[in-house]
Symmetry: C2
Subunit: 265 residues, 2 copies
């Protein structure tokens, strides 16, 4: 890494090294969420992540969609653990040019939509002036500690399963940024995957309820990276019989001389 | 406000208008913290606010001090409610030029120092690339709902009290930015107030324990603004017999033809 800027995972690893560990942490560092013990085997589940205008908001995405996405990307982490978020807090960094009534109301509507779609409420927050749009989101929920689906727990012989098909948001990003070709039907599906992402909360809650899941990870960062993480943490390997590619991503790849597997992974 | 950028409080008020209210919120919008009901009269206390490089980190402030301050400014809100924070989460936005091992370790040390100083632990977080340094902090703690010291509750006849003297950070900021005059002793105290702020957590916890406080507000944004808020929320007025000015702020004002009351308010 000499001379170059550190990547996100290096930064997180370096910071973790300098932290005093909370005794008996219910969820270890590096999982999709954090947790703190309450009474009676319950834990408070916590998550924070920020949306940054320059990197997370492609051209053409509305402020409503950006604010909603900031909430949904955090809900997706809760979903992967099977936890219902109850409260959302917002730390908003707003450039002067976005400090208008119209822009702020649109952000408010997007925050509320993202929260209500998953049963949560925005209960507070704060705002600052910033040079780029920053939407920092914090989530809170409670769960029984023993039922959480953590990244750790996969064993040899387990079956690998996903809650949806891959490749749509990667294809959609190329459509939005590079103007590739696609039929109107395919374009609508792919662009929607970028502008209006969904968290698999219903699936996560159901899976936690069944109690058959040994380990789980949020796959928003891509299938390949998620499997790499699960393999590393659990000292297991994966044998993929079939890469779960969305049909629209397949059509898009075929029409633009791209590899559908690259989009999915 | 026609044509001009909205202020922070206008932005918060506009966003609140668009939010679906959580039923039976234990702490209403606009207090120093948010809360969610747990079982047995306990509440989860939550707070998030971000430190922004350009506006919150004066020249000469180290990354260690900036990261520590990001934590402490949130702890100060918990302190004003009399709540011990147990967990800290961090959403870090880092410009490429700060994505170096040295910078990141300094930030990690500052985050840990800010948390441990007040009994809390950093339990998680995430990082993104951003155009300016952004340190978003989320705090979690628990408390008995009925013992929280809220902004609402002041009555005519109450005594107004503060947990410390005012004017040091306002004077310190002028020293750091404009290079005013001050003796070395005064300079040390004032600059320390800017670079190494303290949260009055011990005082807040003790005051909540005594049970005599009818209302409380974090006064980090200044005495005048804090009293204005308390007056507005509680429909009361205040009669100040004495403005609580720190002696160092008084000396600094005298030596630079400034009004010590202006610094304190």
């Amino acid at each position: 890494m000499a001379g170059g800027a550190l990547g996100e995972r290096d930064i997180i690893r370096l910071i973790q090294r300098r932290l005093t560990l909370m005794p008996d942490m219910p969820v270890s560092f590096g999982d999709d969420v954090s947790a703190v013990s309450l009474v009676g085997g319950e834990v408070a589940v916590l998550k924070t992540d920020m949306l940054v205008g320059a990197t997370d908001v492609p051209l053409g995405m509305s402020l409503f969609a950006a604010a909603r996405k900031a909430v949904v990307m955090n809900v997706s982490d809760f979903a992967s653990k099977g936890v219902l978020p109850s409260a959302v807090l917002v730390a908003l960094g707003l450039p002067k040019k976005l400090a208008t009534k119209k822009a702020v109301l649109e952000i408010g509507d997007g925050l509320n939509a993202g929260a209500r779609e998953y049963g949560a409420y925005v209960v507070g927050g704060d705002t600052s002036e910033a040079s780029d749009l920053i939407i920092g989101i914090s989530l809170f929920g409670t769960a029984n500690q023993n039922s959480l689906m953590l990244r750790r727990g996969a064993r040899a012989g387990d079956i690998l399963a996903v809650t949806g098909l891959f490749g749509k948001s990667a294809a959609g990003l190329r459509l939005v940024k590079d103007g590739c070709k696609a039929s109107e039907r395919v374009r609508d599906v792919l662009v929607d995957a970028v502008f209006n992402p969904k968290a698999r909360l219903r699936e996560g809650l159901a899976l936690r309820g069944y109690g058959y899941v040994s380990a789980s990870i949020d796959s928003s960062d891509g299938l390949a990276w998620s499997l790499h993480e699960l393999a590393r943490i659990n000292s297991v390997g994966f044998f993929l019989e079939r890469v779960p590619v969305a049909s629209e991503a397949g059509e898009f790849a075929a029409g633009n001389s791209l590899d559908a597997f690259d989009l999915a992974l």
